[in-house]
Amino acid sequence: MKRQIPLLITFVAGLVMMVQFFIPAANQYGDMFLTWFNVLAAVAYVLGAGSLFVVNGKVIQRRGRDWQFKVVLLVALAGTLLVGLFWRYSSEAGLMGYLNPSILPTDEGTWFDFMFQYIYTPLSATMFSLLAFFIASASFRAFRARSIESTLLLVTAFIVMIFRVPLGELIWYHLPVLGQFNIGKLIEDFIMNGFNAAGQRAVLLGASIGLISVSLKIMLGIERSYLGGD
């Protein structure tokens, strides 16, 4: 019961999704299942937030490491949920937002919009921008031409980094003999559309066939690791 019914659910759900491409009458069931999927995906976010409360709450309770920052995390989470789910006041609608159901707490001019623009956006962008520093430092420390393979990787990276920016192109076009060739076209035709496309395509084909075989194994109940223990 604990395993047989879930496996049957997996099989039926997957079968309906496949069959709807071939039998138009099954489309309505496919669309219905997709709507249910969207609802469950949203509930998974609730589960994620719930897990955050539970895990961080435990750290705060036992005064674990950095517990003060866990308080900050939960305050930020609770604050975002409060303004995003209930706070309908906006600079445009004012307090009328509470009386008009078509005005959402996530509209322009609300406190949720403020949070998104001035807290979430800069934090998200800055977190990702740190990668520029780390890629420079990591490549300085580790990127060495120790073998043929790493030399090929390094030389290609070099060519793309230098000659895909305007300054590199300008230098190229002033080189004797080589400067007569269009470096952008050479890189695009032979490196990107040639070796890169070939390599990426080989990876893509392998990964796609692997994905299809794993999906079939899941549907047929051969692969059961997603069920967990017991």
Binding site: N27, D31, L34, F37, N38, A41, A42, S102, I103, E108, F116, Y120, T121, P122, S124, A125, M127, F128, S129, A132, F133, I135, A136, S137, S139, F140, R141, F143, R144, A145, L154, A157, F158, M161, I162, R164, V165, P166, L167, G168, E169, L170, N182, G184, K185, E188, M192, N193, N196, A197, Q200, R201, L204
Partner: protein
């Protein structure tokens, strides 16, 4: 040699400082250099240029604030070109963050070229489900959407009378930074519904999309800030991307210089 070895073991914070200076200082002494458009970028430009007046294009905004620096300039440049040609634009997002970005991207071109909402353009906002949402849209746009992002009833808008499914669009464009985004459009819209698709992606995913460009599943591709700068050259309206390339030049040469230096020291050390 000892000095070189010492430099090759530099504290990473010095490297961080060099990178920070390499990205910041060029803006104090900007020198704009010519950017030559690639054929991947020209693919999107030419597809838009060939669009007849009054045709309808679907533009999907599937990027978040962290990648807006690369993708928003592309969106601006293409929207200006579309509006200047009197092409109608239907905006949508299959990524939740994209709906917020779509407002920012549309504001500028709409105001500059005085385009009317509901007549020349409409923003449908976010639709949940990624590739499944694309399939729902392919069956019927009116069934998938009742209101636009600002709550207007779509059946009251003139532009909506022309939108039924993907066949209603002469071209589909997607600005994407990851999942869900360009790959879902390729799988569902290009491969499934056989509609012409142009994409704009972040530079980190450009190599991954070349197989799709090579196979014709996408008709053109704008890649990162460079792609946006190339597009600004093609539409003859230098914007944020063209100005930002000045810092990109110096940063690339700085990083390449570090790698070259480290390898020279490595080989000199090996010979010793």
């Amino acid at each position: 040699m000892e000095l070189l070895l010492k430099l090759s073991r530099l504290d990473r914070r010095w490297i961080f400082l060099f990178i920070a200076l390499a990205v910041t200082l060029p803006f104090l002494f900007p020198v704009e250099l010519p950017t030559r458009p690639s054929s991947a970028t020209a693919g999107v430009f030419n597809a838009i240029e060939k669009l007849p007046e009054n045709s309808v294009v679907l533009v999907s905004f599937d990027y978040g604030p962290s990648t807006a620096v690369e993708l928003e300039p592309m969106a601006h440049a293409t929207l200006r070109q579309l509006f200047a040609k009197n092409v109608k634009v239907v905006a949508v997002s299959i990524s939740p963050e994209g709906a917020f970005q779509s407002r920012k991207a549309l504001n500028g071109p709409v105001e500059e070229l005085k385009r009317k909402v509901g007549v020349d353009w409409v923003n449908l906002g976010y639709i949940a489900g990624a590739d499944k949402a694309l399939r729902a849209m392919g069956s019927s746009f009116p069934a998938a959407f009742a209101r636009d992002i600002d709550g207007r009833a779509l059946n009251q808008l003139p532009i909506w009378k022309r939108v039924k499914n993907y066949d209603s669009f002469e071209l589909i464009l997607d600005w994407s930074s990851g999942y869900p985004g360009a790959l879902e459009y390729i799988k569902v819209v290009s491969a499934g519904y056989k509609r012409p698709l142009g994409v704009g992606v972040t530079a980190v995913t450009v190599p991954e999309y070349f197989p799709y460009l090579n196979s014709g599943q996408v008709i053109g591709m704008l890649g990162g800030l460079r792609g946006a700068a190339e597009y600004e050259v093609l539409v003859k309206q230098p914007g944020t991307a063209a100005k930002a390339m000045v810092a990109q030049n110096v940063a690339h040469f700085t990083i390449a210089g570090f790698i070259l230096f480290a390898n020279i020291v490595y080989f000199l050390g090996k010979r010793r």
